[in-house]
Amino acid sequence: MALSDIIRDNINSLNYFLPELLLTGLVLLMIIADLLLKKERSPWMSIIALIGSGVVLFAIINQYELGSRSIFNNMLAVDEFSIFFKLLFLATTILVIFLSIASVELSGRSVGEYFTLLMILTLGLFLMASATHMITIFIAIELVSIISFALVTYLKTRRRSSEAGLKYAIYGAFSSGLMLYGISILYGLTGTLNIYEIGEVLAGRDTNSLALLISVLLIMAGFGYKIASVPFHFWSPDVYEGAPTPITAFLSIGPKAAGFAVIIRFFNVALSNYDGVAEQWLALSNINWPQIIAVIAAATMTLGNLVAIAQDNVKRLLAYSSIAHAGYALLGVVVLSSQGVYATLFYLVVYYFMNLGAFFVVIIFQDIIGSEKIDDFKGLASRAPIPAIAMGVFLFSLTGLPPTAGFIGKFYLFAALIKAGPEFYWLAIVGLLNSVVALYYYARILKAMFFDKISEGVSPEPLKISPYYVTLLAVLGIPTILVGLYWAPLANLASHSVHFLPTF
C-alpha cells in the first residue's frame, strides 16, 4: 500500500474515531481543569466528567448511523459489537462516578486525578473493544492495566490498598509478559499481527499445532488475567478487597467485560471460520480451543463459588462471586454460535446491574457502619430496610432466581450450551451445580441481614439512608427486576450486537 493511501485512510478514519477523540479531549481538559481549580473536594471535576461522558455517549450512539468499518489501516474496528461494549463501559463509568461522589472512603483525597484516571481507563476499554490487531490489543490491555494499578492504590495511606496495587502490578506484568511471548510465537507462525490475516493464514495452511497451542495458552494468560478466570485470578480477591470499593465495582465489570470483548473477537476471528448460513463458527482443526475454554470456564465457576463459601468479608465474597460469574459468561463463548455470543453479551449487561448494585449496597453499609464483615451485617434489614431489600434483589439475581434479570441471563447461557449438543452437557451440569452452591453463600448474607438478631452492643436505631443512595439503588434495582419480566428490548440489542466485522 502506498504511503498516501495509508495517510488517506488514517484521515478518513478520524470521523469514526470520534468517541475516543472526544474522550482524549475530555482527559486533557480535566487535567487542566484540575490544575486551575485546585480546590480539595471540588464537585466540578465530577461534573465535568459527567458532562463529558454525556457528550461521548451521543458520539457513540451516532456511530450506529455511520455503519461498520475497519479504521486506521485495520488496527481498530467500528461495528455493532464494539459499539455495544462502548455503551456498556460508558454506563459503567457514569455509574461509578456517581458511586464515587457518594463514597466516604474517597473523601479527604483530591479527586481531580481520580476522575481523570477513570476517564483514561474508559478510553483503554474502548480500544480493547474495537482492537483488531495484536499490537492494539496489547496496548489497550496495558493502558487499562496500568491505570487500574494507579486507581487501586489510590488510598495511599491505607496499607491494604497499596499492597493490592503492588500485587496487581506485578501480576499484571507477569501475565503481559506471557501474552507478549504468545503473540510473538503467533507472529512467527503466521507472519502477521492482524487478527483477520492470522485467521486466513491459519485456515489456509497446516501450522505446527504444538506451537500454536503454546501460543494460544500464553495469549489466554493475558486475556484470562483481565477477566479474572482461573488460573489467572489470584490477584483479584486481594485487589478487590484492598481497592476503594467504587474501583472494585468498576474493575469487576469494566475490564472484565472488555476482556470478554477481546476474547470473543480474537478467538472467533483468528481461530475459527465463520459459517454465515448456520450462524455458527467452526474452530480451526489443528487446535481445539473451545475445549480449553470449557475447562477454564468449569474451573473458574467451581473455584470461585467454593471459595466464596468460606469468606466472611462481603467484599471478598463478592470478589470470588465475580470470578464465578466470569466462568458463567465464558459458557457462551465455548459454543461458538451467535446464540452463545448473544447470551454472553446479554449476561454482561445483566451482570452490570446486579453486580454494581451489590457492590453499591456494600459501599452504603461500609460508609455507615464501617465494616464489610458478614457478622456486622446482622439485623441490618430492620435498621435499613431499603438497601437490605435491594441487596436481596441483587443477590437473588446473582444466584439466578426468577423473576430477576440474572435468571434470564443464565437461562440464555444454558440454552445456548444445551443447543450446541451433547459435547458440552457436562459443562451445563457443572454450571447448574455451581448455581446451587452459589445460592448457599448469597443466602448467608441475606440470612445475616434479615433473620439474625442484631449483635449485642450495637444500637438497633434505624440508619439514615440519604435519598441520593436510594435513587442510585432504584436505578440499579428496578432494571434488575424489570429485565427479569420484560427482556425483549435488551435481548434485541444483544442479538443485534453479535455482528462484528466478519472480514476487512
Binding site: 499492597e163 503492588l166 500485587k167 506485578i170 501480576y171 507477569f174 501475565s175 506471557l178 497451542l213 503454546i214 495458552l217 500464553l218 494468560a221 482461573v230 488460573p231 489467572f232 489470584f234 490477584w235 481445539n288 475445549q291 480449553i292 475447562v295 477454564i296 473455584l303 467454593l306 471459595v307 463459601i309 468460606a310 440454552a415 443447543k419 452452591v437 448457599y440 420484560y486 427482556w487 425483549a488 435481548a491 434485541n492
Partner: protein, 660 residues
C-alpha cells in the same frame, strides 16, 4: 386510545405499589390514592366506551396493539392489549363498580386497624381484573386470572384473625385452583397444537382447521373448567358462600360484580372456540347451578349467604345464556347483574353496618330507620326478581328466550328452559323473603333495632348510583348492538353448530313472546308466595319446614356438598400428603441434607486449602524464604511469587491436558 387503555391498567397498579409500601404514612392512611386512581381509570374508560358505542357494528376493535414479550429461538410470545365492544363494556362495569366500592369502603371500613392495607388489596384486585379484560392472549388471561384469585384470597381472608375467614380464603383459593388446572391444560393444548397464544391468532387458526372435532370440544371444556372454578359453577361452587367472610364491599366488588363474572367474560371472549357439544356442556352445568343454588337460597338465614347463593344461581343463568347460543343474552345479564347485585351487596352491607349482625332473625322493620337503603335495596330486588321495567327483567328474559329457542330446536333439552323458568320463580320468592324478613314487620331484636341508623353519605351515594343503573330503560336500544355475537360463520368448526341456522328465526320470535309472559308470571307468583308466607303470614314457614323435613335438611345442608368433599377429596388429599410428607422428611430431606453436608465439608476443605494451602504455603514460603534471606521483605514478595508460580503451573496443566 391506546394510552387510555394502558393508563387504565397502570394507574391502579401504581396506586397499589405506593399504598402497600407507604400507605400508612400518607394522610388519611392513603385511602384517597387508590380511590382516586380507580376513578381516573373510570374517566379514562369513558372515551373508549363511547368510541365503541358510536361504531357498534359487530367486530369493531377500538384498540389492538401488542409487544414482543419474550423470544426463545423461533418461539415468540407477545403481550398486548385488545379492546373491542365487549372489553369496553367490561371496562365500564369494572371501573365504575370498583370506584363505587372504593368510595363506599371509606365509610364501611372506617377505623379498621388495617385500613390502608385494605385499600391496597382492593386496588391490586382492580388492577388484575382490568388486566384480565384488556389482555389479548390466553397466556395473559391466565396470568391475570391467577392474580385476580390472589386478590380475592387476600380480601376474603382480610380479617384473618377469625378462623372462619382464613379458612374461607384458603377454600376459595384451593377450589379455584382445581378449575384452573383444567384451564391451564386447555391453554397448553391450544399452544402445543397451534403455537400461538393471541386470541385473534388462535381464532384464525381454528377457523383454518388447525384444531377441530373432538379435540376442540375437549379443549373448550377444559378452558371452561377455569370458568367453573372462578364463576362458582356446579360442582366447584362451594367456595363462594364461604367467601362472604370477607368485608361486605369486597363481596360486592369481587364476589358479585367482577371476579365471578370473569368466567362468563372468558367464555364470551373465547366464544368462537366452543363446539356445539362444548356449548351444550356449558348450558347443562349452568342449568344445574342455577336451579340448585336457587333452592338453597330459600332456607338461608344469613343475609349475605342468600345473596351469595343468588349470585351462583345468576351466574348459572349467564352460562345457560351462552351455552344455548345466546351470546348477547348471557353477557347482557352479566352487565345488568353486576350493577344490581353490587347494589344488593352494598345494601346488605349498610344493613349489617347498622345492626352489627348478618342474621335475618335479628332484623325486621328496618324500613323506617334506613329509608335510602330500603328503597335502593328494593329496586335491586325487583331487578333481580325479573320485574319489568328493571334491568334484570330484560336480561333474564333474553336468557329464557334463548333457552326456549334452544329447547324448541332440540326437544330433548326442553328441560333446560323449564328448570330456568322454575328457578326464576324461586329467585323472586327468596328475594322477597329477604325483604320481608329484613325491612318490614316487627323488629325481632329490639336492642339492635334501637341502635340501627342510616349509613353515612359515602355509603348511600353508591347505592343511589347503582339503583339508577338498575332501571332497565337505560339499557334499551344499544346494549344488544354493542354485545352482538361474533360472526361465527367465519369459523368453520363452529358454523355447523345448530344455533346459527337462519331457518330458526321464526322460532326466535315465538320464543321471545312466550318467555316474556311466562317470566312475568313466575316472578309475580314468586313474589306473591313470599308475601303470603312472610308478610301476611297466612302460611307458616316453620310448619312447612318440619313437614318437609328431609327436603329442608337437604337444602339447609346445601346438598351436603361440603361433607361430600370433606369425606372424599379432602380426606384423600390429606392422606396422600401425609404419605408424601413422610417420604419428603425421610428420603428427600435426608438426601438434601446429605448433599448439604458434603458441600459444606467440601467448602470448608476448599477454605482450608485456601487458608492452610495457599495462605499456609504463602506463609510457609515466606518463612522458608525468610530463613534464607532478608526477613523484612518476605511477606509481600512471598505471596505474589506463589501466585505466579501457581498460575504457571496451571498453564502447564492445561497444556498437558490438551496433549491427551
Amino acid at each position: 386510545m391506546i394510552t387510555n387503555a394502558i393508563l387504565i391498567l397502570l394507574l391502579p397498579l401504581f396506586a397499589f405499589v405506593v399504598q402497600i409500601f407507604i400507605g400508612k404514612r400518607l394522610p388519611r392512611q392513603g385511602d384517597w390514592l387508590p380511590t382516586g386512581a380507580i376513578i381516573c381509570s373510570f374517566l379514562l374508560a369513558l372515551p373508549i366506551f363511547f368510541d365503541a358505542l358510536s361504531n357498534y357494528e359487530a367486530g369493531h376493535v377500538v384498540v389492538q396493539q401488542s409487544w414482543e414479550w419474550l423470544r426463545f429461538g423461533n418461539l415468540e410470545i407477545t403481550f398486548g392489549i385488545y379492546v373491542d365492544n365487549l372489553t369496553s363494556i367490561m371496562l365500564i362495569v369494572v371501573t365504575l363498580i370498583s370506584s363505587l366500592v372504593h368510595i363506599y369502603s371509606i365509610g364501611y371500613m372506617q377505623g379498621d386497624e388495617r385500613y390502608s392495607r385494605y385499600f391496597a388489596y382492593l386496588c391490586l384486585f382492580s388492577f388484575a381484573m382490568l388486566g384480565l379484560v384488556l389482555v389479548d392472549n390466553f397466556f395473559g388471561i391466565y396470568c391475570f386470572w391467577e392474580l385476580v384469585g390472589l386478590g380475592s384470597y387476600l380480601l376474603i381472608g382480610f380479617w384473618f384473625e377469625k378462623k372462619s375467614a382464613s379458612d374461607a380464603s384458603k377454600k376459595a383459593f384451593i377450589t379455584n385452583r382445581v378449575g384452573d388446572v383444567g384451564m391451564f391444560a386447555g391453554i397448553m393444548i391450544i399452544f402445543s397444537t397451534l403455537g400461538v397464544f393471541g386470541f385473534t391468532d388462535v381464532f384464525t387458526k381454528i377457523a383454518d382447521g388447525g384444531l377441530s372435532g373432538t379435540m376442540l370440544t375437549v379443549t373448550g371444556i377444559l378452558i371452561f373448567f377455569g370458568a367453573i372454578g372462578k364463576s362458582a359453577q356446579f360442582p366447584l361452587h362451594v367456595w363462594l358462600p364461604d367467601a362472604m367472610e370477607g368485608p361486605t364491599p369486597v363481596s360486592a366488588l369481587i364476589h358479585a360484580a367482577t371476579m365471578v363474572a370473569a368466567g362468563v367474560y372468558m367464555v364470551g371472549r373465547t366464544f368462537v372456540i366452543y363446539t356445539e357439544d362444548a356449548l351444550l356442556f356449558i348450558a347443562i352445568i349452568g342449568t344445574i347451578t342455577a336451579f340448585m343454588a336457587a333452592t338453597i337460597a330459600i332456607v338461608q338465614k344469613d343475609i349475605k349467604r342468600v345473596l351469595a347463593y343468588s349470585t351462583i344461581s345468576q351466574l348459572g343463568y349467564m352460562m345457560v345464556g351462552l351455552g344455548t347460543g345466546g351470546y348477547t343474552a348471557g353477557l347482557f345479564h352479566l352487565t345488568t347483574h353486576a350493577f344490581f347485585k353490587a347494589l344488593l351487596f352494598l345494601g346488605s352491607g349498610s344493613v349489617i353496618h347498622a345492626v352489627h349482625s348478618q342474621d335475618m332473625d335479628d332484623m325486621g322493620g328496618l324500613r323506617k330507620k334506613m329509608p335510602i337503603t330500603f328503597w335502593t335495596f328494593l329496586i335491586g330486588t325487583l331487578a333481580l326478581s325479573g320485574v319489568p321495567p328493571f334491568s334484570g327483567f330484560w336480561s333474564k328474559d333474553a336468557i329464557l328466550a334463548s333457552a326456549l329457542e334452544f329447547g324448541m330446536n332440540h326437544s330433548a333439552y326442553m328441560w333446560i328452559f323449564v328448570a330456568m323458568l322454575l328457578s326464576a320463580g324461586i329467585t323472586a320468592f327468596y328475594m322477597f323473603r329477604l325483604i320481608f324478613m329484613t325491612f318490614t314487620g316487627q323488629a325481632k331484636d329490639q336492642k339492635k333495632f334501637d341502635h340501627a341508623h342510616e349509613s353515612p353519605f359515602t355509603m348511600t351515594l353508591p347505592l343511589v348510583v347503582l339503583a339508577v343503573l338498575s332501571v332497565g330503560t337505560i339499557w334499551w336500544g344499544w346494549i344488544e348492538h354493542l354485545l352482538a355475537k361474533p360472526e361465527l360463520a367465519t369459523y368453520a368448526t363452529v358454523a355447523v353448530g345448530a344455533v346459527e341456522h337462519s331457518a330458526e328465526h321464526g322460532n326466535a320470535h315465538l320464543a321471545h313472546t312466550i318467555a316474556l309472559f311466562s317470566s312475568i308470571a313466575v316472578a309475580g307468583s314468586g313474589i306473591l308466595l313470599a308475601a303470603v308466607v312472610y308478610h301476611w303470614k297466612k302460611i307458616s314457614a316453620e310448619a312447612w319446614g318440619s313437614k318437609l323435613k328431609p327436603v329442608y335438611n337437604l337444602l339447609w345442608n346445601k346438598y351436603y356438598f361440603d361433607e361430600m368433599y370433606e369425606a372424599t377429596v379432602i380426606r384423600a388429599t390429606l392422606w396422600k400428603s401425609r404419605i408424601f410428607a413422610a417420604f419428603d422428611v425421610k428420603i428427600i430431606d435426608g438426601f438434601v441434607n446429605g448433599i448439604a453436608t458434603v458441600t459444606s465439608k467440601f467448602a470448608s476443605l476448599q477454605g482450608a486449602i485456601d487458608r492452610v494451602g495457599v495462605d499456609g504455603m504463602v506463609n510457609g514460603v515466606a518463612r522458608v524464604v525468610g530463613v534464607f534471606s532478608n526477613r523484612l521483605r518476605t511477606i509481600q514478595t512471598g505471596k505474589i511469587q506463589t501466585y505466579i508460580l501457581m498460575a504457571l503451573f496451571a498453564v502447564l496443566i492445561l497444556f498437558v491436558l490438551q496433549q491427551f
